[in-house]
Each structure stands twice: as structure tokens, then as C-alpha cells.
């Protein structure tokens, strides 16, 4: 099974996307093409057991990671107070 996903760089943290990829090694092969405005992800060799929700699950995961990192950097900049 295969799937495609485009994540806008202004909304998702590219480093978070790259850092999450190893966690998905066992269930899919994920290739990332970094375009100017988008990260284009192609999912191949998807484990059939997780195929129906893999991309949706990945989207939640990368959103959480993006928000977490954004909060960490804001807290650091403002000395812990937002």
C-alpha cells in the first residue's frame, strides 16, 4: 500500500517530521522531499495492519511534536513564562 502527504512548512516543524521518521521504520518506508513551502511525504511498504490509519496517526504525531517544540522554544525565550 502507498500514500502521499503534504505538510506545509509554515504549519509543521520540519525537524520534528525528520526526527519522527525512525519511529515508523517498522511499519512503513517514508520518503521526504523538502520543497520550498511543503514537505512531501510518500509512504510505501505500509504494514497492512496499520494502513487504514497510519497517515492520520502520523499527522497527529507530527502536530503534537510541532506544538510541543514551539512551546519549549517560547518558554525558553520568555524565561519560562508565556
Amino acid at each position: 500500500m502507498e500514500a502521499e502527504l503534504a505538510l506545509h512548512r509554515s504549519l509543521y516543524d520540519a525537524e520534528a517530521v525528520r526526527d519522527l521518521l525512525p519511529q515508523y521504520q517498522g511499519v512503513a518506508t517514508i520518503r521526504v522531499d523538502e520543497a520550498e513551502h511543503e514537505l512531501r511525504l510518500s509512504f510505501t511498504e505500509i504494514d497492512p495492519d496499520v494502513a487504514p490509519m497510519l497517515v492520520d496517526h502520523f499527522c497527529n504525531h507530527v502536530l503534537v511534536e510541532t506544538v510541543t517544540r514551539r512551546n519549549q522554544s517560547l518558554a525558553t525565550l520568555s524565561g519560562g513564562a508565556r
Binding site: 503534504a6 506545509h8 509554515s10 504549519l11 509543521y12 513551502h37 490509519m53 492520520d56 496517526h57 499527522c59 497527529n60 502536530l63 503534537v64 510541532t66 506544538v67 514551539r70 517560547l74 525565550l77 520568555s78 524565561g79 519560562g80 513564562a81 508565556r82
Partner: protein
Amino acid sequence: MSDSSPETEGALVDEIRWVEDGTRVALTLDESIYPMDAIYGAAYLFVDRCYVFLSREGDRMVEVRLKPKGESSSAALQALAGELANELLNQVLRVRIGDSTRKIREYYMARAFFSTSTQSSIDQLLAELDQEELAEDELEIQVPWETGGAGGG
């Protein structure tokens, strides 16, 4: 699109457009009304019940798409849209109150943990942050015209 009307006695009235297809609902938000921190804050709250996806629909426009993890219906999706909209209102308030009260909060936190005068250290921090921002500003858009950078005018 998000249509907003000018403030009515200080209160802003906004209309958020939603679309649902029986399995997911999408809301289109204007970043000038809903800053990214508010959008992120509201979207985050739904990750236990929904798959959440953000996409850029224009220069200042962001679409938030919610797809419930279980079975859904049009009525449930429309209720979900209402819930997200209410949460966005709360998040906007939190962001604006947080921005406005940040200095007070920094002040009492600093006073609580350091007995000496804190004003100088806050000034120093702000000066350092300004320096960092300038250092990261490769396009020099923050350099005043009078002192170099892009000429003209």
C-alpha cells in the same frame, strides 16, 4: 473564508466557515484573528478524539480539519466544529492576556527567586534577545534604512 466585521462597541464579530462530508469537518481560519498559537492550542486539545490536519489555504488562512477516530455523523461533525470554534475563542483570549501580562509574570517570578533587583536582568535579557533577532535576520529587514541595508524610499 472567515468574514469579520469591524468591532461593535469593542467586540469583534467573526463568522467561521465550515464544511463537512460525513467523515470529517474543516474550518477555515484567518490568522489575523486567530494567531497560530491559538490555532495550535485549540487543535492540540482534539488529538485524543480526532485526527487533526492543518493546511494553508492562503497567505493568512489556515484550514483545520478534524476527522473523528470513531464513527461519526453530520450532526456530530457540526457539533465538533462548534466546539473547536468555542475553544478558539478561549485560546485567543489566553494568547492576548498572556501577551499583555507577560512582563508582570516575569517580574514576580524573578522577584520570587532572586532577592536582588531584577529590572536590570530583565533589561539585559531583552537586549540579548534583540541582538539574537538581529543576528538571525539575514535579509536585514529590521535594519533601519538610514543605517544601511535596502536603500531607496
